[in-house]
Structure formats: structure tokens, C-alpha cells
Amino acid sequence: MQVDGLENTGRAQPILTARRAGLVACSVCGKVHAAGSDRCRRCHAPLHSRAPASLQRVWAWWLAGLVAYIPANIYPMLRTATFGHETKNTIVGGVIELMQHGSYFVAGVVFSASVMIPVGKFIAIAYLAISVRYVSALRVHTRQHLYEVVEFIGRWSMIDVFVVAILSALVQFKFVASVHPGVAAVSFALSVAFTMLSAQSFDSRLIWDADEEDQE
């Protein structure tokens, strides 16, 4: 370990950030530039001390994701036709059916990916976006950790969309049995994409700025 924070133990003085030092840091490659530079010299990414309008973009994508999530739960995800008789399954309906078959583990996987992760993500992103404006109950490291979890886990919600894709490709036995994707598959996929964009729009440096201000 080359990095030691000895001078910062006990938080005797505020930590020196690039912004405090009057510099601009590249959020892609970490290179430090003089204030006023607009492109990173190393990776050519646009430079911003803090991502512009970060919170507005977070809320816009968040809302779009929430709007898309509603039809995803109301309309059928999967239409199964067996001998001319069609059954429609919503997300939750599919989970219940799996449980009736006794596949509790897989039902759990689908339930966490399609219900718990998206709902938890809406709450977590909203909490993070609000907490940078107001004093937060959670420690700053906990909030950073929460953000990393949201970024990492959000994409796994796509499982159900892929399940629908595979089933529709596999189960095509004309009259005997056939599976078709429902409208909810589209709106659910959109909802996941929008919340991923929402999480990506969030500038994690805002979490640490808020912490800095609290201490002063």
C-alpha cells in the first residue's frame, strides 16, 4: 500500500480535492488539469469539475424509468399458447407459476431480478439524489457503497427480458405450444435501461462534496 492517509486521521483538516485546489480532474482517467480546461489531455474526455446538471439528469431518467415500470407490471410479459388456448403471464404471475411448480430457487432469482432490484434501485437512487442536498443519516462511505451496489446490480434486472427472448425462440411447436413475448417485455427493458442511465448520470463526487460541507 502506497497510499496512506496519516495526515487525515482524525479529520484534523479537510481533505484536499481537485476542486478545492482550483483544479479540474478527469472522471474517466484521473488526470488533473488547470481550471478552465475543457478536454482531458490524456483521454480526450470532456472535463467538468462536477458533471453539469447531474441531479436533473438523474431525476429525468429516474422518472422515465418509473413510468416505464408501471406498464411492465400491468401488461403480460409472456403469452403462452397451448392447443389453441392462450395464457398470459405478467412478471409477478410468472414468479407465482414457478413457485407452484416447486422451483422456489428460480422463482427467487426472477423475483429479485424483476421486482426487488428495480424497486430497490428506484428507492436507492432517489435517496442518494436527495441526500446530497440534505443532511443524511447514512455515513458517507455507506452512501458510496450504496451507489456502487446500485451501479453493479442494476443491469441484472435484464434477466427476465432474456428469459422471455429464449422461451419465445425455443418454444415454437405450432399448434401444440408456442410462446410469444408480451408488451411488458419492451417496457420492462426500457425501464431497466432508463434506471441504468439514471445511475450513470449521478456524479459520485457529489456524495463527497455533501460530506465536506457537513463538516464545515
Binding site: R42, F162, A165
Partner: protein, 218 residues
């Protein structure tokens, strides 16, 4: 490679080249060489800044090349074979992708194709393009910088590993009504996922950027 901290508030005489800011929390650090095999963490948010490894570049290039070859196998070989009530159906990944191509759901087939095949393939190709020439000691390729930024931006959108879990769930769902056999493409896909995950743990973002910069200048 380097890192340690500058925290004495004497910003006037800071040499910008000798500094690095944590991309996560903006804390400034001094650059000191980081020995191979060690991990340099941000002293404020503890996220990993640099984790150089011995011969990482060769390993990454080899793994990315293998993953790209496996991708071709995974897309075109039969993926799953399903039989029920005297009917038999063989599907490749291409079939899974075109399953959505009827009617309103057409755009979704594009999205699925992009997420499980196109974007992962582009990402692997971009990494090969960036690191390949550097591995054999050449100067970085002409568009290496935008290519590596593209590879990093595509990271959350390459969902091959999620697709594999989706396949497992789908198998359980149809297990009751039909017999399913997994084809060679399925194993190619599983191998691809493992190799991609290995490659991503070897790859240290800031080290690659630093190396790219140094090699471009020399």
C-alpha cells in the same frame, strides 16, 4: 506506476503531472510508483486507484482474443435443443434474437442482439485494438484513445453473463413440459462469460490510461 497523497494544502507549487485525482471522490493524490501486485487505494473513499499486475497486458489481450473467438462459436452453433410431443426444435442465439421480430416487439430484438452479442463483441475488439499493438511493443494504434473510452463506456451494457443466467432460468421454466439439451454454443457462451470476467479483473483502468499516454509520447 504511482500514487500516494498530497494533502498539505500547498496547491501553488503542485506539479500537475505528478498528481492524480480519484475519479470517484475527487481527492488529490501524489503519484508514486505502485509496485506490481499491490493495490493503491484512494485514502478518502478507499476505491481502487491502481492495481498493476505483472504481464497484465499480454494476459488481457490473450483473454480478449479467446473471448472473441468463442463469441463466434456461441452465436452460430446450436445453442439449445428442445423436444416435446414428438416435435423437436433446435435454436441458436440468432434465433433467440429474432424471436422478438414479430410486430411491435421488433425494436426489442435489436436491443437483445446489441446487449448479448454486438456490444460485447465491439468491446472485445476495441480492447484488442488498444492493447494489441502495445503488447508487442509498438506505439498505440491511431484511434486507441477513443477506442478505450468506448470500451469503458460499453462495460455496463455488455450483458452476456446476464444472458447465461437467463438461459438457466428459461431451462427450469420449460423443464416441466419438454426435454432440453444444451448444445456446444451454450458451453462456448459460459466459457466466454468466465473469460470476460477474468479479463476485467486483470484490467486496471488508470494503469491503461497512463501507459497509453506514455507510449503515445515516446
Amino acid at each position: 506506476m504511482q500514487v500516494a497523497l498530497a494533502d498539505d494544502g500547498q496547491t501553488e507549487h503542485l506539479d500537475l503531472e505528478g498528481l492524480i485525482a480519484c475519479p470517484v471522490c475527487d481527492a488529490l493524490h501524489n503519484l508514486h510508483p505502485v509496485p506490481v501486485g499491490e493495490i493503491a487505494r484512494c485514502h478518502r473513499c478507499h476505491s481502487t486507484l491502481m492495481a498493476p499486475r505483472a504481464s497484465a497486458m499480454t494476459q488481457i489481450v490473450m483473454l480478449a482474443a479467446s473471448a472473441l473467438i468463442l463469441m463466434v462459436a456461441a452465436v452460430f452453433f446450436p445453442f439449445l435443443d428442445l423436444s416435446a410431443a414428438g416435435f423437436s426444435q433446435e435454436s441458436s442465439v440468432i434465433d433467440a434474437i429474432t424471436a422478438f421480430s414479430d410486430g411491435l416487439l421488433f425494436p426489442l430484438s435489436f436491443a437483445v442482439a446489441a446487449l448479448i452479442v454486438v456490444l460485447p463483441a465491439i468491446r472485445l475488439a476495441a480492447i484488442l485494438y488498444v492493447l494489441g499493438p502495445m503488447m508487442i511493443g509498438e506505439r498505440p494504434a491511431r484511434h486507441a484513445i477513443p477506442a478505450f473510452r468506448l470500451a469503458e463506456a460499453l462495460k455496463p451494457w455488455s450483458m452476456a453473463e446476464i444472458f447465461v443466467v437467463g438461459v438457466a432460468v428459461a431451462l427450469v421454466k420449460i423443464g416441466g413440459m419438454a426435454q432440453v439439451h444444451v448444445g456446444p454454443a451454450f458451453w462456448a457462451f459460459v466459457a466466454l462469460v468466465v473469460i470476460t470476467a477474468l479479463k476485467d479483473t486483470f484490467m486496471c483502468r488508470l494503469t491503461v490510461w497512463k501507459t497509453l499516454e506514455e507510449r503515445s509520447q515516446s
